[in-house]
């Protein structure tokens, strides 16, 4: 995959059409359907691989990635609050977005590594799931302390049983139980069509990202800078963590990508309900309008180079 890979081109097509205010738009049901397919595909593939792996090896990575999910927003928050001069709830909410992950970015990274025949640790989809939760907790606590008002039970139910987690974890379990041969009859949809489905998904993501640009203009340069520089910082943290955990080049790259990506589904929904005084336009426009395009167009190839560097020097 080069910058000229068709899936990136579809994203660019969406961006351009959106900027030109084309009436092009995928029906919401189709967009949702594509998301479901991507989540299941990623889960299945991870699950099949996972079957080959002793469970004990997961403990270290899981715990340290979870820790990363707690720490990244804690770094982002003071930058947003004191450099960016955002109000407390806004700074907390944006920070939470960047502690979490974007499944769309992860899917593109999967396709990118596949196109270069680079493998990565099979438990990566699990990391996507694990990173969903801590950032939300940290965001809420940053915004309002450990408040009695927060209905933690309801919240954790909503996050843990959200579409993303259920399909990723469910897909992994199915892949794990059914194994490579078991999954074969359903491979034509979930594996053979993966890249084309990702292309359509990115077309719509380009349109959505473009629609965020007008809000961005209102909130100024700081947010744009943050949306590029903080992911770069996070990628270094993620990559370094991968190296410490003894991961392969592919794994290091993946962890860098996960760290660098910002949520635009689970976290916004959770923040809207728990920290309603945060302005949702701020966080979504930087996550979708800056960081997502940056990662797709520039970040992912960069993180691979970085992983190569690290692994070369480290290994």
């Amino acid at each position: 995959m080069t910058p000229l890979d068709p899936i990136v081109l579809f994203f660019i097509l969406g961006l351009i059409a959106g900027v030109l205010r084309s009436e092009l738009r995928l029906p919401p049901a189709i967009y949702e359907g594509l998301t479901v397919l991507l989540l299941i595909s990623i889960g299945l593939k991870g699950g099949i691989e996972l079957a080959k792996q002793p469970f004990a090896e997961l403990v270290g990575p899981v715990l340290s990635v979870m820790l990363m999910g707690f720490l990244l927003p804690l770094v982002a928050y003071p930058v947003l609050r004191y450099v960016g001069r955002f109000k407390r709830p806004d700074a907390a909410s944006i920070a939470a977005h960047y502690g979490s992950v974007s499944v769309g970015t992860f899917a593109v990274a999967v396709a990118y590594l596949a196109s270069q025949d680079i493998s990565f640790e099979s438990y990566m989809p699990l990391m996507v799931v694990i990173l969903e939760v801590p950032a939300i907790l940290v965001g809420i606590i940053l915004a309002r302390g450990i408040s009695r008002e927060t209905r933690w039970g309801k919240l954790s139910h909503e996050v843990l049983l959200g579409k993303g987690v259920v399909l990723l974890v469910g897909g992994m379990l199915i892949g794990w139980v059914a194994g490579p041969e078991g999954v074969e009859p359903i491979a034509p949809l979930f594996f053979d069509l993966f890249k084309a489905i990702l292309a359509l998904f990115l077309l719509e993501m380009g349109l959505i990202a473009a629609s965020q640009i007008s809000s961005l203009r209102r909130y100024g340069l700081f947010l744009v800078g943050f949306g590029i520089l903080f992911p770069l910082f996070s990628a270094v943290v993620g990559g370094w963590l991968g190296l410490m955990l003894g991961m392969s080049t592919g794994g290091i790259m993946m962890l860098a990508t996960l760290a660098a990506s910002g949520s635009y589904i689970a976290v916004p929904a959770a923040m809207r309900l728990t920290v309603p005084e945060a302005n949702p336009t701020l966080s979504i426009s930087v996550s979708l309008g800056v960081t997502f395009p940056f990662n797709i167009l520039v970040g992912i190839p960069l993180y691979l180079q970085f992983a190569n560097l690290l692994h070369g020097s480290g290994g």
Binding site: P28, L207, I208, S211, I265, A269, P276, P280
Partner: protein, 100 residues
Amino acid sequence: MSLDTRKLVTIITESALEHSLVDDFERLGAHGYTITNARGKGHRGVRDADWSTSTNIRVEVVCDATVAEAIVGHFREHYYANYAMILFMCDVEVVRPEKF
């Protein structure tokens, strides 16, 4: 045709609030509600169906004046400050008043 009068309370707000509102109605004594998907524009900008975190719902509750007042009070306190929301109401004639 002799019909009774009730209040029709209409709320237009963020779809993220759907579960909350439904719980509220139950607690505040409404016997039912009806929801449709909507898009629109107000003080918090354009909210259309394209991107799921920014769509609206249009909620209707037929109820007596006391419940209507309770809804307005509760919503004013809990949602007005931080959510895109409008609320309006009018009198309607209903056929089976015992339902509301």
